[in-house]
Amino acid sequence: MRRKIAVCLSLLMANLVQASHVNVVTSTTDLAWLVKEIGSPHVQVTSLLKGTENPHYVDAVPEFIRLVSNANIVCVIGLDLEVGWMPKVLSRSGNAQVQPGGRGYCETGKTVQVLEKPLGGVDRSLGDVHPSGNPHFWLSPKHLAQAISTIVDALAGVDPNHAVDYVNKAKEVSGQLEALSQKNREKLKPIVARQKGPLIIEYHKEFSYLFDSCGLTSFGSIEEKPGVTPSAGRLVSVALAAKNAGIKVAIASENAPKQTLSRFTELSGIPVVQVPMSLQPAKGLTSYVALQEKLVDSIVKHLAGGVP
């Protein structure tokens, strides 16, 4: 009997501790890191994704629905990155506060200066085009910092008692991200200064924001149309074009098709470096600084011929 009482009391304590925190659920691990940086110690943050997935192609898994049903705030990238699954997760959660337009709904892409917003008509003959612009902004510290205001607004709206803490912490984090962006620019400065043309090609246009913040120019993408595996003919033409243009390295996410990338290297002689696109806590990649170092050092290594 005493043991049952002790178990009940500890469960009650755990719930009370949980109730005193703002429960934030994010779509990606990178947003989870950012919310934790801004919101600690007042937030408990859970990322729905593990960082290894392609966030375009995820199912509305029941476990996601359960986690969102308990959330005070849901933060998403937006810009149609999660359009295939997040609306279903939100509507099935039965949680009115986190529905779009609710005070607990935080779409971080809304305050980011979006790149590559298509001009003119967009339809699926162009591939998997994002009509609102390129959603992969989190890879650039400068652009990730632009998402901070939506997170602060959501946190302050749900937890006004700690609004001042969130605002102050946000300024600190914004400064850290600017410093990180500056550090990236310094690392790539010698390369950028020397480049007479593009030196790098991407498999999919996922690195536009990172390149933009560092002053790197991209040769374009190996994909002819976004989200469409390149045909044999496309591979040949883009490999030869990249080779002739003196491209030094191709960069791709870990999810990009390995067979296609190997074929590209075979045809062009250009090495491909595959990098994580998000934090992967289960694999030990828990800090955004570490992710940035991994990305930028990979690029520098191949463009400068050695680790800086």
Partner: protein
């Protein structure tokens, strides 16, 4: 009927063009799906209709109706025996904002039981319904008008319960007005989710449905449904889907099941094979003794997915029908092509 089709086509065209030119439709999302199905019998007695046909063309409209409620309308034109029928598949008002941890819908919809009964046919992982599903539900799914409520329990694991009550004047897919039942259609489903080894996940559902029609025929259904998926990047690497159902129809008993595994083999291609079985265990010989009967169907299939929006499937149906001491077999080949236009389809689990 031609006038209705013209109206349907004009409504679709004007809606799509309105969206293309950015007119304010209050956040209305539109999606069109078309399912073409070509069935050719390879043996005498097969179910193939030996023609290429548009099995279904569906227009789905959905959006918030206001700050509290959402609305959905699904109008479909589909071929029945070579004749196109236009009908409302779903038209309901719902909300997931009114009652915490809950959602409900009021109107006309596919009943929230089972796995494939709830999913539009063009989204099934196979082309045609297993025999038990056609016998117990309908060629696509059982739909009716009523109220359905779903509650998500506040537990450290996913457990969701659905209960529904609908008119029950008709059951399955019936174009008649029907007649008032002695007991309306009522159903419940409990579903849970758990991880599977190798970064997968699985959903298990327990289902019940009951109805007594105007003539006093009592129908009771009990079933299990199971879906397991393993995803890698944009590819559904493995899928296992299965359902098993038992029906009591007054004093008769029938049961059936299907098992469908599928695997990705590269470059947008998937192979799968469905095994399904149906039998009536209450059939007896005139003089007594169980009458052996059963339908066993094996359907290997090859799926090609050009993108999330276009799929093509080739299936070969091998059907064995046993009645008493006689077993007859038939074969049919089917080619299905499905495409989606408009709003991004949801990635349901």
């Amino acid at each position: 009927m031609r006038a209705i089709f013209l109206l349907y086509a004009m409504t679709t065209a004007s809606l799509v063009s309105s969206l293309a030119f950015g007119e304010d439709l209050g956040g209305l999302k539109t999606s069109v799906s078309v399912d073409t199905n070509s069935q050719f019998g390879l043996s005498k007695g097969s179910e193939g209709n030996d023609r290429i046909s548009v099995r279904e063309a569906e227009l789905l409209l959905y959006s918030p109706a206001d700050h509290m409620f959402d609305g959905q309308l699904n109008v479909a034109a589909h071929s029945e025996g070579g004749v196109m029928h236009l009908e409302v598949h779903e038209a309901y008002l719902g909300s997931s904002k009114l009652i915490p941890r809950s959602r409900f819908r009021l109107g006309h919809f596919f009943l929230g039981v089972g796995r494939i009964n709830q999913i539009h046919r063009h989204d099934w992982p196979f082309t045609t319904a297993p025999r038990y599903h056609r016998e117990f539900f309908a060629y696509e799914g059982a739909q009716d008008t009523g109220l359905e409520y779903t509650y998500l329990f506040p537990l450290p694991f996913f457990l969701e319960v659905t209960a529904g009550l609908t008119n029950g004047y008709v059951f399955g897919h019936d174009h008649s007005t029907g007649s008032k039942p002695k007991t309306p259609t009522h159903y419940a489903r409990a579903v849970t989710y758990f991880s599977m080894p190798g970064e997968g996940g699985a959903q298990l559902g327990l289902n019940y449905l009951g109805r007594t029609d105007n003539a006093g025929t009592k129908k009771t259904l009990a079933g299990l449904d199971f879906t397991a998926k393993w995803r890698e990047a944009q590819v559904l690497k493995y899928l296992i889907q299965a359902e098993a159902w038992h029906q009591w129809l007054n004093s008769t008993r029938q049961w059936g099941f299907y098992l469908f595994p599928q695997a990705h083999i590269g470059d947008g291609f998937y192979v799968g094979a469905r095994l399904d079985y149906y039998t009536d265990t209450s059939l007896t010989y005139g003089g007594g003794g169980a009458y052996p009967n059963g339908n066993l169907t094996i359907v290997p299939s090859l799926l090609y997915r050009s993108s999330e929006f276009v799929t093509a499937r080739l299936s070969l149906t091998q059907d064995f029908e046993r009645q008493g001491t006689t077993t007859q077999s038939s074969q049919m080949i089917e080619f299905q092509a499905v495409f989606f236009l408009g709003a991004h389809p949801a990635h349901d689990f």
